[in-house]
């Protein structure tokens, strides 16, 4: 039974230009109750936070606690 790669829209969006993961910030990753955010390395070697798992309670600590306002929580499409 092979696993499929099914596309999904993710509710949490991070603005790369504002994200300071490069400076070692992991606040949004740390506070998420469902642990769905991670830090990714971009093509140019810099880092940014992103939503790795589409398992969002749209609760907002990531947005509220982000020191630079880089994180936006949208509602998952299925319930919006």
């Amino acid at each position: 039974m092979p696993l499929a790669q099914t596309a999904t829209t993710v509710p949490v969006v991070v603005n790369d230009d504002l994200c300071i993961a490069d400076k070692g910030c992991t606040v949004c990753v740390d506070v998420c109750p469902l642990d769905v955010l991670r830090i990714a390395e971009k093509a140019d070697g810099s880092k940014t936070a992103y939503m790795k798992y589409d398992e969002c309670w749209y609760c907002m600590p990531c947005e509220a606690d982000c020191p630079t306002g880089a994180v936006t929580v949208n509602l998952p499409y299925l319930l919006k």
């Binding site: 998420c32 109750p33 469902l34 642990d35 398992e55 309670w57 509220a64 299925l78 319930l79």
Partner: protein, 580 residues
Amino acid sequence: MDEIQDGLTQIDCDILVIGGGTAGPMAALKAKRKNPNANVVLLDKANVKRSGAISMGMDGLNNSVIPGYATPEQYTKEITIANDGICDQAAVYRYAQECYGIIQELDEFGIRFQKDQNGEYDVKKVHHIGTYVLPMPNGDTVKKALYRQLRKARIQIVNRYMATRLLTGEGRIAGAICVNTRTAEFLVVRAKAVIMGLGAAGRLGLPTSGYLYGTYENASNSGEGYAMAYHAGAGLANLECYQINPLIKDYNGPACAYVAGPMGGYTANAKGERFIECDYWSGQMMQEFFDELQGGKGPVYLKLNHLAEETISEIERVLHIVERPTRGHFHAGRGTDYRKQMIEMHISEIGFCSGHSASGVFVDEHARTTIPGLYAAGDMANVPHNYMLGAFTNGAFAGLDAADFIADVDFATFDEGEVVAEQARVLAPTKRDDGIPPNQIEYKTRRLVNDYLQPPKVTAKMELAQQRFEEVREDMEQGMYVRDAHELMRSLEASSILDCADMAAAASLYRTESRWGLYHNRVEYERDDENWFCHTILTKGDDGKPAHSKKAVQPYVVEIADDEKDAYYNQRVDATVAAE
């Protein structure tokens, strides 16, 4: 991060608190203050800074018993009536007596409560009989204030470890087995006492949106507390008394009549007419809600559009910053303006949660479970209608009692074989090359919960549910497959959810009567006080399946007059009032 690694560490502590949401932090603080030499560990599968039901705060206390507004006797009576009399009053009465002290302590932590011009607490009436609702103007700061206290008290915090099974030995608690949610490494904690504050089983039914995490409860509250207590041999009470909520449709968050009600908002049918006198959540109220929908007068709405601009702005200010702040985004996306439209509501999927209902791990007025040294508090313990203040107060009781308990005991010895067996169970989905992902096991379980367990309850449907759950369990045990430590956490949650689904079906079939309005509406049976005026206790039987017994309701502390007993059944607004 997330790669599965081998590893097992063992630590010792005097008191292990599992769950860093509401009850857990208060339990840890109280235990540490009572015995400053005690080594207290607070463990959470998320991060204590933002974990649990009040991750983003809370807009008020729904059940404060404040001198001058309500008495402990009056509150105890109200909660007993709201639960159709099935209530051990000692725990409710002690809560009612001591919650005011907890409010004052929270005040000292920097959490403010609304006061009137005279500096008195500004308590509002929402319940059917008494006055207990106290707004919190800076309710968004609760978790931060708690966290400061935990650091100050030097509580040892362990984040991102998920407890999976309790350890017992010598007839009492011995500790817990935990797994790191990002590495899959094991942590065995030996403890003289364990306090569980793991929240509701909030991921039991499937939301109508179909989104697995679109739940009313914090979706990380997936029922581990109930499952662990069950496997450890503790008793669970009245699990057939489900929690079902009147929520904003699709958003599945609280419509918050508790906030809007005292300001003039109310629950209405499609014609904008009020049909229930009281918006306080109870099984009887949910039955009226259900009847209105079934009777062709739905949808049901929260009505605010008759209110003045200043009132609506104030309601928005409160509701859009605390508890579920994305609510504002949701309404904006739908084009719903409180000034113009009513807010569509619906009946939620089922869950377990004593926060608003009455089921959970059985505890007494000291938050003691049926296993010595094991405590439970908050949404997962069976003290009815806990809400946030109940979690704080009963968490405090647990911490205080545990501090005494550890004074007289050493670590209980346990069978090391249990750790080996649990490692094998947990890691089984990592040992396969292919199989069913945890999200499909979970989706199927929860869809079956909706199909067969959602009230009104029908015997044949619930028996069918049991058969299907067994098939899913077979698939889970033989074929579940995970690729990393994060998915492993989800697989463990899927297992807890399935355990809770099994318990929900078994408990509902055992009580052959109807009680608690919609929560246990068994269409084939009437209410039967002669045979069922009792608690039902579910334990793990010798065959590994749920076993049941009846337990007498303890003699009342506060007597209820015969003409008061059914007050919660008199909620429907009569036709003349509705037509005005």
